[in-house]
Amino acid sequence: MATDYIVGIDLGTTNSLVAYMQGDAPIVIPGEDGLSLVPSVVALDEKNQIIVGNAARKYLIETPERAVYSVKRLMGRGVEDIRDELKLFPFELADDLQAGEVLRIKVGDRTYTPPEISALVLRQLKRNAERFFGAPVTQAVITVPAYFNDAQRQATKDAGRIAGLNVLRLVNEPTAASLAYGLDKKKNGIVAVYDLGGGTFDVSILKLQDGIFEVIATNGDTHLGGDDIDNLLIAVAIDDIQGDLKLDVRRNGEAVARIRKAVIEAKIALSSEASTKLDVDLPGGKKYQREISREAFEQMIQPIIERTIAPSKQALKDAGLKPEQIDEVVLVGGSTRIPKVQRLVRDLFQREPHTDLNPDEVVALGAAVQAHILGGGSAITEDMLLLDVTPLSLGIEVAGGVTDKIILRNSTIPASATQHYTTQVDGQTNVAIHVLQGERELARDCRSLARFDLKGIPPMTAGMPRIEVKFLIDANGILRVSAREQRSGQEAEIDVQPTYGLTDDQVENMLLESYDYAEEDFRQRQVIEARREADTILAALAKAKNNQAWRDLSADERTRAESLETALIATKEGDDYHAIRAGIDELNQATMRLAELMMDTAVSSALKGKAMDETDFEEGPQAGHPMAKAEFK
């Protein structure tokens, strides 16, 4: 049982979470700091140690060149794709980056590919889960935006592998949300999921029937989310500062980071307040201050949030449904907290959307449900089955640079298509196939997924070989290709060159490096944490001995406590964390009555509380609104 934990992970643009099905309900696993959201931020500290999550956020301001965020927007993309993106994000690419190579981003004096950075976030979540279970975690379900293409999915899967996780399934975020939503509702009907997160937008229409969650249509934009709102507000502020204060802060990383922090806080405040103040300390002692009303904010973001309308209408059209045929609308993603967004959704689907679910957690909770199903399930999930679709059509380039679509978008996955190829020259032994993803007519307007070289075709007269190529999109939405020459029955060898992506060898190398590290790391952390807990309880016990309650115990009770105390002092010097924890538990048990007595006598040295519940958070208090925590220290 100890190694069978399968967790569900929401690897988000802004925040990431790990969840697990505990009994009949999924729960989010908190980190060491007690918080459930791990900001998807990775930084290098002064000693080149990798810092992830909340602790990494302060580097965004102090040393912006040593920190990265929103890396999800760069997953599975090439230099050409992200040129526009880079204008908005303060990332620098590696100087020696070759054309056609997977992106590498500079962090301090190192470079990392986007899957590696995501892997660092995943590793943090993995550790949080391991800490929670007190056991290694090696299997996970990871969610991706429904509209992610093959390369973006593959990159996410690679990230999982690099982090030492066997990714059992990639689940589309809106679909995962519907799983969490449907778990306790058990209703039949048509559900629309509107998911506007930090960096991506998805809309999915599902039919729920007797536990089957059948996606009918999905659409979206993998570059649309809260980030775009932030970037717009930043641009406005920078213009203001230029105009009013005659200060050009565009090249000043720290100033931009401060502005970013301030506009995010303002954005969040405006979801509940009618107006708020922007107040930013700028370099040179100047201050940028501005009052911003909700009305002005809503007007500014209008063009951004309106970009969700066309994909939503397309999804309805593809599903063959009218808005009034939608029974329920579910909101997912932090950006759906914006009242203006909620009004837009209401107008789109002519229905009051559900806001009772925590839009930050629902995807991770759904991933946990799917993880549970894949692990064999239980009574509560036994009728549940997810039937998802591929968001984009799969095509092949044919003569004239035209895309010939062979699997249409919104086809239920797994889905397959078979194509036949032949040779054009006598004795030809290779055939090249260019695989594309997208809806456009011309190959150059579609996403190039990979070039396949069929090799080892037996030499024959031109046109004689009959090569059957099978394209199969698996349940993760990832393409697999196999080929067979039908006349000779020979399996053709396929050489895949992913257009943007890591090769297996590259992933393997990254994996090995972090794997060695991870195993040792896990053990060491466990030992360190166990020792710290032991110290806490031992110190509390030493202190309690001065208390009247100690003298009120029977001689036997005191002897037992002291012998366990001596034993724990010895055990904690060793590095067997299981033994240390067992010692802590025993001592805890033996001093239970002591703690009660101390409570009774109202002496408030909280021996019990201290030992059983670690409360010394390093990250400050937890705020209700997750985005409100975007506080850069």
């Binding site: 059992l168 536990g211 692990g375 044919v398 035209v402 397959s416 349940a475």
Partner: protein, 249 residues
Amino acid sequence: MTNVDSNSLFVVTRQSPETTARCWSCGTMRAVHFCSSCGKVQPPVPADYFSFFGFPRKLNLDTALLEKEFYVLSRHLHPDVFGQADEQERAWSLEQSSMLNDAYRTLKDPIKRTEYLLRIEGVELEEQSKQATEKARASGELKKQVVPPDLLEEVFELNMHLEELRMQKKTGEDDPELFEEVSEAKRSLEEKHDALLTELKNEWNRWDESVENASEDGRRKVLDRMVDVLNRRNYIRNLLRDVNEAMES
């Protein structure tokens, strides 16, 4: 395994010749795609989409029953059910469920269903048109589409109107009369489209009769007529798409 509808299982098992096989795992007689006794997925056997569902090769199809079968089979074949199974079973599950999804997608749509039937009956409808398209592209010529003779005049006029409408959209002009004429043409095309569907359904009935009577007589003719109806329908559908694009843009 849950929710096994015994009626559904009966349909699947009754029609298919492979039911005599034994489950590779527990050895009992089994349903086609999975074992009705132990639930294990079975190695895929080549089958056309109709027989995959245990249906006769008929074109009038109860889509509600099809959906029900699809759900039942999904519960037994989907990769999620085999999350903890060994690699071989997972591979079979992947292949079986992709086949199931492909079959369902094809059969639930009346046009795709008809086209598929034509293909498995040896009429390569798609190939013909695809080859013509590719040939035309390779030679740089426009693909010549054969205009159904009864539409010749109407299509000629419509294309002129569409061209005008596109020009006007570009220049920002607005001619309600022209718009009305195009709308009228659209309505007429929609009527023709519906009529063709009715015609197609009549051919379905003829086809299904010939399957029931196991008569080879006239089968070829029915197939040829369906090709003809589908070609005309495709032509009209493409025209309608052009009209819609011109009106919306």
